[in-house]
Amino acid sequence: MLNLTIDGKKVSVEKGTTVLHAARKLGIEIPTLCYHEGVSPYGACRVCLVEVVKGIKTGLTTSCTCLAEEGMEVKSDSPRVLESRKLMVELLLARCPEAEKVKDLARKMGIEGVRFKREDKECILCGLCVRVCQEIIEASVIGFINRGANREVETPFQAQSDVCIGCGACSSVCPTEAIKIKEMFDKRILETWHTELELKSCKICGRYFVPKKELEHLKEKIELPEDIFEICTDCKRKSLTGKIGEIKTGAI
């Protein structure tokens, strides 16, 4: 176990724990935007900044990437930390004035107005979609293109992707609802990724419910009985509840 102090409070954590988690253990709330339990930390949004005291020097670092060390002294509410975090959020708000999550954070931090020219982007470039698609789905459909202020998340050559399975994990992890997915009868349309996928219909109810490609991908990855891929979740649930009788599951 490692012992450290955050805002003067002592906490012991296992080796490999991030400062963010150590703080959570103490009930200290640190805002995050580009962090998600399921994927590797990235350190991009910088709203989770904390101050770490190292001897006579102190430096700002991101708590989501910084690993706890023995004897470490962390400040999560110093004026320097709060000023920096606030400016990060203000910068992101100027970029994406309509993003609910950013607006929420801004409200919580007491940011009243934006001092910069407003843009109308939706993506804060947190990279969660990229990491989910790469690390969890293992499809690596999207990535960053361009440098600096022109950075964007895109498919290669900004063209239709032939590796996208249409699972929509990117969209569900996106903190700003920047990834648009539409369903039209037998098609799932991932506008943001210039990609359309054919859906498969449920053997029982006939409803189109999942991209064929996603099913193929799943079959490759996990061994499951063939018919599990043939019926939609609703019908699956119904038939299961039927079978199990009283037991109410709903978690399957």
Partner: protein
Amino acid sequence: MKIKNLKDLEELKIKGLESLYPKRTKINVGLGTCGIATGARAVFDSIADEIEKQGIDALVGKTGCLGFCQREPLVDVWQPGKSRIIYCQMDPEKARDLVTGLAQGKTRKEWALCRMEEEEFIIENTKKKYSIKEKDGKDIPLYREIPFYRKQKKIALRNCGFMNPENIEEYIARGGYFSLARVLSRLKEEEVIEEIKNSGLRGRGGAGFPTGLKWKFCRDARGEPKYIICNADEGDPGAYMDRSILEGDPHSVLEGMVIGAYAIGSHEGYIYVRNEYPLAAQSVERAIRQAEEYGLLGENIFNSGFNFRIRISQGAGAFVCGEETALLASIEGKIGEPRPRPPFPAERGLWDKPTNINNVKTWANVPVIIARGADWYSKMGTAKSKGTMVFSLVGKINNTGLVEVPMGIKLREMIYDIGEGIPEGKKFKAVQTGGPSGGCIPSELADLEVDYEKLTQAGSMMGSGGMVVMDEDTCMVNVAKYFLNFTKDESCGKCTPCREGIKRMLEILDDISKGKAKETDLELLETLARVVKDASLCALGGTAPNPVLTTLRYFRNEYEAHIKDKKCPAHICPDLIHYSIDKEKCTGCGLCLKECPQTAISGEKKKPHSIDKSKCIKCGVCFEVCNFDAVEID
């Protein structure tokens, strides 16, 4: 042939010396990228052609950059029994004349930059005196006496311009690979690290981290294999010291790397060169092949049982790929963006293995330190910055070029002695050090001693050695804007402060330069600069605000003039200047009227002219052409 011992090396040295100082005339042409850019290839060709045509008993050879890039093409003439003469600003015509003259025993003093009666062999600590029989060219100044070279001390640049980079024997003749021989036969790994540590050598790629300590971290780190990397990304605009070394003396870098690899316990190395440096990459490739042939690289180096290979990795020329973690990602084939440190590369680097990254110049220093010892090296420089630093001295300065000077030299000496002052007698205003994210140091600090600490205290940095001199006609708001424009485009865009913050700073600077900013904007600019510096992921964002912070610190009045008085004191920002014609001075010659691209000027012949401000685009042509100083700017 494989070199197995010192005797083999000594033998090659003799061959190398014969090639360096042949028994007949040898004309060397500086064929670095800088030379080629000014036409050195044509000069080389015409020399070769003329020698053949006239049937003269002379050789023509190539060499690297002697540093005085402004006076390129440089040609040096070696003739047994005479002083070596370096000619400058040659062209094919002059080159032919020179050859003809040589055949008749003539010296073209009018084209000579300087002459040499001896050369310094820094590794061996000797001065190689030429045996001069004929005292000719006496009125040509000596190399070590002309202002540009007088205060220089060449360690990293020791061979550039003094040998043929394609000839490994010439490198050996100048003491090359003797340090490696000594290390492999007589020194333990720890002893090498100790020597580098004691020398006080610090990284020449920017951050100035103590090199010996870095090597030790990597040596002590767990994990195999370990990698060695030479960072030759050199993305700073206007900086080309690393390129010059790779082109002019590639073996010095290879030798340094093998020594480092031995000390650290690595068997595989990479040289990361940007794509824009095709000549440098070729030069290194050739050097690697030669060194392998001679058994100085590859398997069983010097018959010692030690193996080390070097590969070349070419980057696509993004500035940010010079940052070490981005560089690692780029070698691994991923997109070149930085990641948080720790873990540092020494612990987890290339393919998660312990990796030691050093700059080209850092590596090039190593063989000399091994040869001359830590004591000797650490006597040069200041308390915490030892040895020498290579700068590229550019901008509004009379002598531009690559300059290697002992740490601790005063800015004043750089500018007035080596650089010989500002062109057209203008006033020296500021100097920007450290590349695009360094800071501007005002003329009042001309007595600042250049070292890592002093530059940082002044708000700037050493960086990799950029030095841009600015004269009184420079607008500091414009300067800040220029550098931020560069970092805005070169930011990788990963983290919020750097990507969004630089963009916003630039917007404010733009407003200031157009007279559209409010006084509160200055505060906001300052806050942004401070926080971006503090909160960014890597040192690109961590240093990008330096031009803003230093110009605000030293030239605040200029910012205020733009904001409050809507005036650009240096008359640079087009939106804040106005051209008008002084009726008293105007003779009505009509020259400006003819030249104005907007037909904004009107007036009858021989009568005072006037400018229609609504049409004027402030190009300044009228100001330039008027022979009577009648056009005024305010």
